[in-house]
């Protein structure tokens, strides 16, 4: 059976896709090349070997990223659900508001939190005016994680909202009808069905959180160096491209491994219901 697919055929797909993929992949290949060469261009595993020195920074990055991701998920999940249940007109406005920070320069979003949290910042000023003791907020791990959460929250809310607003209400009614109270319905129906949104939200928050830079410098006061900052330093200050490339590659592999494990876990969970 031959479909008359003149339209797609005329744009002649395959070569175009091939070229685009080369364009997209080539710079990544360059990174890989640099990761396995020294400054003179000959093959070496030194860069990779050196990474072990940074293992605590890698771990901290993943740890902070994971915490920020979990907080985003916990905050966003009820929020997305509530938004999806409000009137259609309100939904658009709320989603607009949620997306607003994305219109603002990334640096600035981080700076404004600095101004809010500083020892002489807005919150502490208020506390003092209220006659309370000022609180150390800036330069704590909490501030770093807050920065991550604030920056990447919309990327968690949007996919969750999108899947929840498409969820058929009669499925929830069916669950209630069969004897489920609210907690059971969320646990056994809403959450499993929204799983693709959860996975996509986690991915979209975890990946940039782990490799972020600046946030820790500004909100952590340099006490909590993250791998993104180290990579930046290699390029900006040390000019050790090869080590920077090796770090990036390792980070990418680590992230993919984390996500793979998570996917595996949720898949198993899905199939595991059977037993």
């Amino acid at each position: 059976m031959k479909e008359n697919t003149s339209l797609a055929a005329k744009i002649s797909g395959a070569p175009y896709i091939a070229w685009m993929i080369i364009f997209i992949i080539f710079p990544l290949a360059v990174v890989a090349y640099f990761a396995f060469t020294d400054s003179s261009g000959s093959f070496t595993l030194n860069n990779i070997a050196t990474l072990s020195r940074y293992s605590d920074i890698f771990l901290r990055s993943i740890w902070f990223g994971a915490i920020a991701t979990i907080i985003c998920l916990v905050i966003s999940y009820p929020l997305a659900y509530i938004i999806s249940q409000t009137a259609q007109d309100n939904q658009r406005i709320i989603i607009m508001l949620v997306m607003l920070p994305m219109w603002m320069n990334f640096l600035l979003r981080t700076y404004s939190w600095m101004l809010i949290l500083e020892d002489t910042g807005i919150i502490n000023n208020w506390l003092i005016k209220l006659g309370l003791e000022p609180v150390q907020m800036i330069n704590t791990s909490g501030a770093v994680i807050l920065g991550m959460v604030y920056n990447y929250l919309p990327y968690m809310i949007l996919p969750l909202y999108s899947i929840m607003s498409r969820m058929d209400n009669s499925i929830i009614e069916a669950a209630r009808d069969l004897g489920g109270n609210s907690a059971k319905i969320v646990q056994k129906v809403v959450f499993p069905i929204s799983m693709p949104g959860v996975v996509s939200g986690i991915t979209m928050v975890f990946v940039p959180s782990v490799s972020t830079f600046y946030i820790s410098q500004k909100l952590g006061g340099g006490k909590f160096t993250l791998i993104g900052d180290v990579i930046e330093m290699q390029f900006q200050t040390s000019y050790n491209y090869n080590l920077g490339a090796a770090m990036s590659l390792a980070l990418m592999v680590l992230i993919l491994a984390c996500l793979f494990v998570m996917n595996k876990f949720t898949d198993e969970d899905d199939g595991g219901i059977l037993v």
């Binding site: 499925i171 009614e173 069916a174 669950a175 209630r176 009808d177 109270n181 059977l274």
Partner: protein, 372 residues
């Protein structure tokens, strides 16, 4: 047991956005009965069902379950389960887990769950489908998973909201028989919502005809078909010729310029009435033998019979006959007394029962929906 009332709706009214949806519904349903709520879309039949299920609270009126008022009782605490229009299966669970869903919520032992699920799947002819994904099933199979899922929790009453609407004709007929069989085997109460009159007639013990938020008639299928209460019911349940008539005396009615013998009495002398004649109850004869006569304006072959439109003094009758006539033929019609049914005049008089123009009907439909 047959006379045990299980559900009793008392003067139920529902208003949505200041628009009345139900205007005082009174309806009781006996245990083990197969009741169908029949009406056009927007008549309030699904709203009635949702009130019984507990998804909606009426603005006024009482919902009684075995003589106890259950207004405000949430759906999961009612012994009533629903089959939703588009099945509403859980997409993340397989067939087995869909059916087991309600049982797991009851925290029954695994062995009992397995037993019940298997029983239900064999009841709906889906043995061996346990591990299939619900999306991989055909519409008819999904429908039957929904039935098994609802029946697994052993409801006293099963509510079915146009459950066969999405199925093919042939499958729909088979499923009608299946559903009726299941209901008879289990002996539980079915409340069935549909806009398909044939479905209502062939499955139900009792048919409740609704329109505009009111019950128009309650009765057995045969009552509803043979003794419709008003022009709406007559038109909605099957094809009907509905004419203006005058009761000359008991057992005698005049319409289409001729006085016919009939079986009805008790009307005032010369009272205006609606006369219903079913297309299949008219006998076609030669012109000279007919009580009234007219011209055939169109003929359609329907398989079992021919369907003709016959113009009699400007009123277009629909007549069904197994003998073929042709366009332009003059024919005579004979109507036996038992083929004539007399109804009191109602708000619906004059709105239905003339087959002069289908396009008009469509135009009405169009302008109606334009207002919405």
């Amino acid at each position: 047991m047959e006379n045990n009332v299980i559900i009793d709706l008392k003067n139920i009214a529902v208003t949505f956005d200041e628009e009345p949806i139900l205007k005082g519904i009174n309806l009781y349903i006996r245990d083990g009965e197969f009741v169908t709520l029949l009406g056009p879309s927007g008549c309030g039949k699904t709203t009635t069902l949702r009130i019984i299920a507990g998804f909606l609270e009426p603005n006024s009126g009482d919902v009684m379950f075995e003589n106890k008022r259950i207004n405000g009782v949430p759906p999961h605490k009612r012994q009533v389960n629903t089959i939703f229009q588009r099945y509403a299966l859980f997409p993340h669970l397989n067939v087995y887990e869909n059916v087991a869903f309600g049982l797991r919520l009851k925290k029954l032992p695994e062995k009992e769950i397995r037993q019940t699920v298997e029983e239900m799947l064999s009841l709906v002819n889906l043995k061996g489908f346990s591990k299939r994904k619900v999306e991989s099933l055909s519409g008819g199979q999904q429908q039957r998973v929904a039935i098994a899922r609802a029946l697994a929790v052993k409801p006293r009453v099963l509510l079915l909201d146009e459950p066969l609407g999405a199925l093919d004709l042939k499958l729909r007929k088979d499923m009608q028989i299946e559903l009726k069989n299941i209901q008879q085997r289990l002996g539980i109460t079915f409340i069935y919502v549909t806009h398909d009159q044939e479905e209502a007639l062939s499955m139900s013990d009792t048919v409740v005809v609704m329109d505009c938020g009111r019950i128009q008639q309650i009765g057995t299928p045969i009552d509803i078909y043979n003794e419709p209460k008003n022009a709406f019911v007559a038109d909605f349940i099957g094809e009907s010729n509905i004419l203006d008539g005058i009761m000359k005396s008991d057992y005698s009615v005049e319409f289409s310029g001729h006085t016919f013998e009939c079986l009805d009495k008790g009307f005032d002398k010369n009272e205006s009435v609606d006369v219903v004649v079913r297309p299949e109850d008219v006998d076609v004869v030669a012109v000279e033998k007919g009580a009234i006569c007219g011209t055939v304006t169109s003929v359609t072959f329907k398989g079992v019979h021919f369907e003709m439109i016959v113009d009699i003094d400007g009123f277009k009758w629909m007549i069904q006959s197994t003998d073929q006539q042709f366009e332009g033929d003059e024919i005579g019609l004979v109507i036996e007394p038992d083929a004539i049914h007399i109804m009191k005049k109602s708000d619906y008089s004059g709105q239905f029962g003339d087959y002069s123009s289908f396009s008009d009907e469509i135009e009405q439909l169009s302008s109606a929906s334009e207002e919405v």
